[in-house]
Symmetry: C2
Subunit: 334 residues, 2 copies
Amino acid sequence: MVTMGDIAKKAGVSTVTVSKALNDKEGVSDEMKRKIKQMAADMGYRFHAAAKSMRSGRTNNIVILIPERFAGDEQAFYLKFYRQIISVLESYDYYGILQILSSDDEERLMLPKAFLENRADGVIVLGQPKKEYIEHVTKENVPLVFLDFYTDQLNADVVVTDNFYAVYELTNYLISQGHREIGFVGNVHTTSSIQDRFLGMYKSLLEHRLPFNERYLVSDRDDAGRFIDLVLPEKLPTAFVCNCDHVGYLLIKKLSDSGIRVPEDCSVVGFDNDIYATLSTPPLTTVEVDLEEMAKVATKRMIEKLEGDKGSDGYGRILIKGSIVFRESVKNIQ
Amino acid sequence: MVTMGDIAKKAGVSTVTVSKALNDKEGVSDEMKRKIKQMAADMGYRFHAAAKSMRSGRTNNIVILIPERFAGDEQAFYLKFYRQIISVLESYDYYGILQILSSDDEERLMLPKAFLENRADGVIVLGQPKKEYIEHVTKENVPLVFLDFYTDQLNADVVVTDNFYAVYELTNYLISQGHREIGFVGNVHTTSSIQDRFLGMYKSLLEHRLPFNERYLVSDRDDAGRFIDLVLPEKLPTAFVCNCDHVGYLLIKKLSDSGIRVPEDCSVVGFDNDIYATLSTPPLTTVEVDLEEMAKVATKRMIEKLEGDKGSDGYGRILIKGSIVFRESVKNIQ
DNA sequence: CTGAAAGCGCTTACAG
DNA sequence: CTGAAAGCGCTTACAG
């Protein structure tokens, strides 16, 4: 291993000078800097993060903590999220250490091991852990950002997609296409995302002074989150808002099997713009979440906290806008 | 921050004793160990990875390097792979730092930054980079394991799925179901995986003294890997081996559109057992790759290299068996 | 069983 | 513009 000391010896200077030169600090002549950098390159010198970290007390690593049950998802949504995050981190010279939060560790309120070993400066929690876990981790002295879920903890930084507003807009669109009888597919008691999506639809109906018919509320999963068979109401609305594309896909299958054509007899919209939106026939009008922007905002927030621009104190809940993707699953029935 | 020194002061011993106690080394009375551990817990002591790393010269971090073009994949196959790897790493008290290899860095033969900064002890390359990159990285003094692709570098550790043998078995199965005219869908010049899958089929045909009809070879993508429209041969074989499920899915669509029923008129098999295998009608008989085992073997190999059980020297190419998943896309035509 | 000393590779604060 | 000294938190090798 080549150290600054080795370069110093060879160059006939002190390690202090080498350190200054390689870090482009003042107090070394340009000529000397050039020479030292050249030597470092020739000798295959590599920085030693641990030594730097010892002095600064910072590691430039961030833990990304994903509860186990979200990391097994077929579509790897959270892993894609993680991939966005590390790209942003890298642009700030940070690294992201992924840790999966096992249900065991979640139960026992264990902080991520990488953080406990001082391998990381902060933790981005990606996906909603149990309430007690959130409370516990908030109490510890851990720089935290919560990503993609709410919490009612006051002293928390939260970045979420604007579920509410996106479905509000989506429903406005349905109404602009002449729909007055609108249903919702989803169990509003499983996650706050689904609940907010439901409420977004509800707000749009309220604003247009349209009633919501409880019989048009179709559950798609049990309270534990497992999909159940969809039960269609006897009389159908002219359009369904589905809480996600996967369920939109299943609903269209169900409707087709009953001889009901989409969108001719019934319109359907989804949420996520994932693979199910393009695989269904017809492809779904849906909402695309802005993963990249969410990752960017959450990461920036974390780095602000760590590098302590003290002006940017206080906590915040940041909502990131999604965008509607128009496809062929909605009919204008005006 | 609490240090060993703080604990030592409070306990009235030296840091050496604290270090020994917390690391469960010999030379401290059980009574004292218990007391020190209790104090450490009470005081919220956290290990300091950087300090340990300075002495040992090791970080217990591994870089997982994925070329950019594999990390954008819709199904996030490589990210799922990464997720398996970190689970194995964690069980050995290691951490995985994901780095995406940009085409720029690939062109300029840049080693992953986390490695250059001595943040990691080794690199697992996941997914095939350019030939020049592989050559360069092999020459540098980096502990390396290549995962999920071949290289003709002799001094390399390689862990791949046994594409060849799996498709050989899959084709044997087709033949056992009475098929004699068997086609292949895939461009054999894009990746070594596809090539090996083709050769596995070919071996099975050879063994059964069946000819391979060049007209049954259907290309599915251009040499750059982009999907192209499938062109069916005028006369169809009784079965097609597809190089992946996605193409199997597309082929079945194509056949259905031409009024050809699967499996009644033509059987189809795929590879990967991904979402396309279950989404196609009928669902595909296919090969499931053993991600978990591959991750386990690759990770173990890396740790062996680092912890230098010198007996386990030398390099190897390790093939991991997949398994056939039987579904409804093959007809017995005996 | 316990501890004083040295050192891992670097940077900061100070002196020249 | 350059460098000697101290220290970041820990562990190893040695002495008692």
